[in-house]
Amino acid sequence: MSGTAPNPSAAREAGPGASRWRAGATAALMAVGVAVPIYAALTGDTYLVALASRILVYALAAVGLNLALGFGGMVSFGHAMYLGLGAYAVLLLGASGVTNGWLQLAILVIVVGVVAAVVGTISLRTRGIAFIMITLAFAQLFYFLFVSLKAWGGDEGMSLPQPSSFGPFTGNRTALYFALLATLAAALAGTHRLVGSRFGLVLRATRVNERRVRALGTAPLPYRLAAYVLSALLCALAGFFLANLTGFVSPAYLAWTVSGELIVMVVLGGAGTVVGPVAGAVGLLVLEEGLKALTEHWMAILGPLIVLMVVLLRNGLWSLLPGGVTNEARR
């Protein structure tokens, strides 16, 4: 494919290494992630580990969504469906005798890859607001599909007959937690590399001006579709961990509000920054826990806070850290 040579130094600016502060904050987040189960083991605080696991699951999903939304400018309001597909894969495969975790993951990648390619191909024919509506509608399709599966718990959901089997680590929550943490770290490192590569450069360019990318002789669709599928796979992976951590799967995992919350996490942390979505997941879920402790009508407070975030915090928490380049996701 002909095109102008990407400028590597410009391409790397968006990475976390652009600022010492950001690198420090990333290291601090990871250190807290490692410290939580150790602290919990010393004090016997199981609540903290459960909360931290949930945060890591949604952080992984938000990092995935960010690839499409933040770097690719594809505002998907339906990424909860991939989270749900990942979770249901554990239930459906486990119940039909495929209990090996690695095999489950392989099947998951193939199935979700195909689903995301089909959904993405249809959805990406549209632009802007229609894309938002269509991704939301596709997510509802899968939501109602799982609700209608009465044999698998219908709208109530059901407990996993058995967790994914990983030899001696099967059902070991601490091992699962660290596997999740490592996956998140790998996803962040991968995003950093991807965004700085030629692929990432084209992807970010299509967000800014698709017509110019086309004029330079590069077809945007393969890049956008690949980013969409990759982002779906990360969400499905998060769903795989979610099912194993909670031991329970229900259509609530792919409710439309979850898709909304994932977008809030990405934007709250900083769309189009590599580590921002992690900060957003921590911020939103900790805030939710705090509000839940305060009142049962916590959503009446969360809603206005989301509106305030849109008005006041346009570039996200991550951009509040000094140094580095300004977040390029917003004009």
Binding site: R125, T126, I129, I132, A137, S148, M299, A300
Partner: protein, 306 residues
């Protein structure tokens, strides 16, 4: 499957479709003129239903309940626009979706705080509680009334947009907002009026479904999402598209639920049919949407941009 059953299902589909049209018309007009997507449109529908049910409970007059819902939500629309929705028009779609998502969360919880989680119920007015006889079979009069009301609104909107000065301004505003403004029209108020009009239609839809659905927090979102499907299938910004899209979605959804499981039993084994029937029925409209978009990404009745 008797002909009467089939006809009832088709009429139910038309009735549901016209309800969706009431929602879609407002949403698509607002989008056309202001480039603004409002997820809280479903919340306006919910507020309309609550206002109608409460007014009906207090006064016992169904007509008064309808008026209260329409006027109440119209005023709410003006207030919301002034309070900040207008400021969202110039932000990107992501901001609009997020901010109105926050409003939806708040509105549902506010209703739960005010009226509890238990659903409210509302009776059909006495005059419409008996079935009417259409072509030799019985059909609930109230559902018939929804069909009539929906058709009247469709005709009224057509006349408003094609035959009045206000309609001319709305069409002009949708195709070139800045030019209309330069010609001395207060576009801010024009937009506010269109938004409040769309809100009033949503409130009217909410009031009309009161007697056939339970009224509860969160009732707006399933309808909102189907409305989005209607708009995408019909073509964003097009009233004609909203009407035909709504009728198609309403009929496909209703027939999918009412007739498809029976049909599957004719061609598949009973166990397979009872498993596949509900699944297919519940995703039918979304498959339809995917099929339409695969061939016509701009919808069935795309708006022509000059």
């Amino acid at each position: 499957m008797s002909p009467a059953f089939l006809l009832t299902q088709v009429l139910n589909g038309v009735q549901f479709g016209l309800l969706l049209f009431l929602m879609a018309a407002g949403l698509t007009l607002v989008f056309g003129i202001m480039n603004f997507v409002n997820l809280a449109h479903g919340s306006l529908y919910m507020v309309g239903a609550y206002v109608a049910a409460l007014t009906y409970g207090r006064t016992g007059s169904f007509a008064l309940a309808l008026v209260a819902a329409v006027v109440g939500v119209f005023v709410l629309g003006i207030v919301l626009d002034r309070l900040g929705f207008a400021a969202l028009h110039r932000r990107d779609h992501l901001d609009q979706v997020l901010a109105t998502f926050g409003v939806v969360l708040f509105a549902n919880e506010a209703m739960r705080m005010l009226f509890g989680s238990a659903p409210l119920y509302m009776d059909a007015p006495a005059a419409l509680s008996q079935p009417v006889v259409i072509a030799g079979f019985n059909y609930p009069a109230y559902r018939g009334a929804i069909i009539v009301a929906g058709l009247l609104v469709a005709v009224g909107l057509h006349l408003l947009i094609e035959r009045t000065r206000l309609g001319m301004l709305i069409r002009a505003g949708a195709s070139n907002r800045d030019m209309v403004s330069a010609l001395g029209v207060n576009v801010g108020w024009l937009a506010r009026l269109v938004f409040a009009l769309g809100a009033a239609l949503a409130g009217f839809a909410g009031a009309m479904v009161g007697p056939i659905l339970s009224i509860q927090p969160g009732m707006g979102e399933p309808v909102l999402i189907l409305t989005l499907v209607v708009i995408v299938v019909g073509g964003i910004g097009s009233i004609r598209g909203a009407l035909f899209g709504a009728l198609i979605v309403g009929i496909v959804d209703t027939l999918g639920r009412g007739v498809l499981p029976g049909l599957l039993h004719l061609v598949l084994s009973p166990s397979l049919a009872s498993a596949a029937g509900p699944a297919l029925a519940s995703v039918g409209v979304y498959l339809l949407m995917a099929a339409v978009l695969a061939f016509k990404p701009d919808g069935l009745f795309p708006v022509r941009h000059s």
